[in-house]
Amino acid sequence: MEHVLSMTAPPRAESRIDEGEAALIRASLGGDSGAFSELVRIHQHRVFRLVGRFFRRREDVEDLAQETFLTAWRKLHTYGARAPFEHWLTRVCLNCCYARLRRPGPGEDPLPEEGAGDGATPNPDVALDLEASLRALRPEDRFLLLLMYGEGWTTAEIAERTGWSRVNVKVRAHRARRKLQGLLEVEP
């Protein structure tokens, strides 16, 4: 089982890298923190949106987003420029979120207040039930299901963006779906 997502961006024959962004990356590699700050401004909304898929509290989202960019700053030399920087940064972000989800200890997002409903389902009791089912899943399964159903990514897209093999993703997805079905079938 791959516990660490591969950091190297997948090679692609046709890749278009924005020249302005390439200049910012070169300057960042030279130690220019101002250039890297500009990269942060360009990609911060995307990172927040992705992290917000896995964590509900604002402080957790901000913490993981900062960790994503700081990791990207430290490991920028591993970016091969064979694919868009956005893809590489997405992988860094997923790596950070996955590691945090698997970390044992407190920090679970609190369950939504009863009756508060987040608009996902008209019945807030069903929302609470689903949230409890989601919480009962293993972090690895929760991670994958949120990418599949939350982000709407296909197996191929998940494999590409995480660095896992397609077979690995398919097997994990199948297991995660079966587990969710099992949890949902338990009559309250």
Binding site: S33, G34, F36, S37, E38, V40, R41, Q44, H45, F48, R49, V51, G52, R53, F55, R56, R57, R58, V61, E62, A65, Q66, F69, L70, W73, D118, G119, A120, T121, V126, A127, L130, E131, S133, L134, L145, L146, M148, Y149, G150, G152, L180, Q181, L184, E185
Partner: protein, 113 residues
């Protein structure tokens, strides 16, 4: 499809909808990039800390060597004689001249009598 299968299908569909909308809906504020930039350059205390950590092995080796010399004095500075009759002198020639007359007493520097 019986009732149980229909219920299961509905619940899975509800779960999928829930996942699609499971989101914190948090956007970065205007100061986020600045906060990240502030953490890019380490503080002086942090730099000094890392430098001290790198010097730690060499410092430990130096302390070990100094302690070894402190607790293991060399044979040339020993004041204890090997045998009571052995004359003690820093002059090796005089020591050779005097060393064969170990039964005689009253010689300068002789200890143990």
């Amino acid at each position: 499809m019986n009732d149980r299968q229909a219920r299961r299908k509905d619940r899975m569909e509800a779960a999928r909808r829930y996942f699609r909308q499971h989101h914190a809906n948090v956007a970065p504020d205007t100061g986020f990039a600045g906060r990240v930039a502030a953490r890019l350059t380490p503080e002086p205390a942090e730099i000094l800390g890392w430098a001290a950590l790198r010097l730690l092995p060499a410092m430990l080796a130096l302390i070990f060597v100094l302690a070894w010399f402190a607790f293991h004095p060399s044979a040339a500075t020993a004041t204890e004689s090997i045998s009571p009759g052995t004359p003690v002198t820093e002059d090796p020639i005089a020591w050779v001249m005097e060393g064969g007359e170990g039964d005689e007493g009253g010689q300068d520097g002789e200890v143990g009598r």
